[in-house]
Amino acid sequence: MRNSQIRFAGPVPMKQKITIALSGNPNAGKTTVFNAITGAWQHIANYPGVTVEKKYGTVIHQGREIEVVDLPGTYSLTAYSLEELVARNFVIDERPDLVVDIVDASSLERHLYLAVQFKELGVPLVIALNMMDLAESRGIIVDVQALSEQFGAPVVPMVARSNRGIQDLLDTVVSAADEKPRWEPAPISYGMDIDQAIKRISAIIDRSQIYDRKYPSWWRALKCLEMDSEITKLLKRDPPLGQEIEAICEEIYKHTMSTLEEEPEAIIADHRYGYIAGIVKKAVRRKIESRINLSDKIDKVLTNRIIGPFIMIAVLYGMYSFTFLASELPIRWLEIFFDRLASVALNVIPAGPFQSLIVSGVIRGVGGVLGFVPLIMFMFFAIAIMEDSGYMARIAYMLDRVLRWFGLHGNSVIGLIVSGGISGGCAVPGVLATRVLRDPKERLATLLVIPFMNCGAKLPVYALLIGAFFSGDKARIMFLLTVLSWLFALFAAKILRATILKGPKTSFVMELPPYRAPTLRGLLIHTWERTWQYIKKAGTVILAFSVVLWAMMTFPRLSEHQIAGFEKEREKLTDAFLQSSDIRGLIRSREDMAALHDVVFGGKDREAVGKAFPDNPVLGRVARAAFDLEHGGVGRETWDPAILEAASRYLVFKKQISKQEQLRQQAAIKGTIAGRIGTGLEAVTRPLGFEYRTNIALLGGFAAKEVVVSTLGTAYSLGEVDPEETASLSERLQKDPAWNPLQAFTLIVFTMLYVPCIATVVSIRRETSWAWAGFSMFFNLLVAYAVSLTIRQIGLALGF
């Protein structure tokens, strides 16, 4: 009443902020309503101490600030699932001014079950009657006025996805908050036995001193009869009265079991549905003749026992193709962008350790991760379409029986797909997607095998190795890898569930929400939320790790002595070159050589080369000849044999120098911390055929899997040295005798399975504990090692 007094007092200053909690069953359109109200102004956090996501945002309406908190979607308010407990405790502890319960008009009875429980608690309630369009199309006519009267709460009809009714809802929220801020528990009847027991128990609670008055005693008594763990554990703290209450509950339990063969809890639920049926009878009319249920018709095809699975495979394959096709160009743009950025940094920052840190550490490290944002984004967009349309639930339904055999759950499929089940997701949001699993062991098993999927970051590694060794069967090998990752994940889950995560099979009780065309806005918000999680990891964890990794691959540097050794060698080569009989008189000094290098390798065209040495025509001719030899233009001119000989000698010399440079870089990287670790690990990795450079790259891959490629590049001393040679790490590997298709395949499988990237490990820890995160690293490494070893040894035995 505090606000209504001010209301009549004429013009008023800005009134108090209104806090509302949005609640509703999953699939009631809660997220759509939340997005429609708050627009882009929303924040995501976790509820304190638990991994349930809390979204909130504010909106100004009629000059009033309304804070909207999105409660987890729940069917009920028991204490048996984390989401329900979180929702209930938020309402009880934070006392929002109003709870807005979003209810699907097309299946009103079930949705009102939650609303009834809010009524029992006594919360000031507004009912948002969503999906009015769907209800109408199914011939369900809801009398809003009657529903409001029967239920005793304002009811606002709406179609949130097309923004209809949002303003009405906010109007109602403001006026309801002003009129009725008090809590009024509205008891309903559960039959004589239960009603009397409630009376007796609440009388005892009223006598006791230990309870705060946050809960109405009537409600607390009801929860005692429902054997609500959160409430009954309080009884233990209050011995004499608590025992008295327990005795009453026991008595009622025995009584109802003997007379009705039902637990009190079941009787209470029956009466709630009975109460709802009474309301619905008065407020809902059905036009039988116009009842078309499009969703059911679609399901006749899409979940058909025979063609359903084929359609599912086609849909998943379509998603995969769409993602790769759509992201191809943006990925190339980003690559160009980061290359430009690196070359700008090379020019602006003076050469030295700082330049190296920025270029090799920061830009290459973070750029490597951000370069895949388009791929990840389109994949999440495609996944959002499947989720928002309702198809994802059908996939879970169709695959539940298969996944159950491996000790998983139909809903595990969402996490597996988001993590890269069809190649190109990300395990970080995948880990979050396992929150839909209720059973802790099923959830853990899913979490632990999720990193086996082919996330977007592993694809560049595959692309490199497939390009080098299996270029003919690109598509086939990619398909094989997708199948392999599923097989490894599923069998690993089976092993986990048969050993350390042994436990009873849980239940699968899931709604198939009606098919709905997704809204663009909803899709964009979902896509962005997940993509942002990926980008955030690039900005934080990966940035830090790139720098650490850069340092490990840079320090300690070669000693003065070693550098002097290489320098001397180089001088010796140069002197020998300048003094050789073919060269003397044509290339006279080191200055000549430097100028020649700039002209021949400086990216000039032939004409510019010809004009480069106006004062030294002889050198100019050598330059042109070398240029033609290097760029395959011999025969354009008739060359003096001496000039031609000098030019080809010069090119041979350049090859020697670059070979020497590679040796120096290899020596340098071998001497660094990473190089020493990599060399040390050779003892363990030799059976897999990995030498120190691969080991260094795999160490780098712990920061993010795509780093494997760039680290291999550095370790094989490419990229930084000669701009002309950047093209082909893959060529380089092809020529290396240590590499062959078997070796490449072993590395691909090892990369697929080994330690999840640091961002995933951190996410797993956040969802579970350090112990499980640590176990995940150990377990994956073990699987990777065992599988790769098997593949290589079988391959060798077969003579590959």
Partner: protein
């Protein structure tokens, strides 16, 4: 003729009325909160490719549950009179 059978024994598209849910504890609670209480009219929509889970229509929505759960739900169905 009316007969009470378990939901898992029902055939596709068969309709009936729930008479009893024997599941207790968390399972019973989940089934009840989804609206599977006595006197609820249901209809089998179909089954997943491996004949499990089963999709059931009730209270204007579609619920899927495993055969295991469907075994604890007793439904009164209409059966045609047979010779014996």
């Amino acid at each position: 003729m009316k007969k009470i059978i378990r939901m898992r024994e029902m055939s596709d598209n068969q309709a009936g009325v729930v008479k009893k849910v024997t599941a207790t504890g968390d399972m019973g609670r989940r089934l009840r909160e989804m609206g599977l209480v006595p006197e609820t009219a249901i209809k089998i929509q179909g089954r997943a490719p491996l004949r499990d889970p089963v999709a059931v229509k009730l209270r204007d929505f579609v619920l899927t549950l495993r055969n295991n759960e469907a075994g604890s739900i007793f439904v009164e169905v209409e059966v045609p009179e047979t010779g014996d």
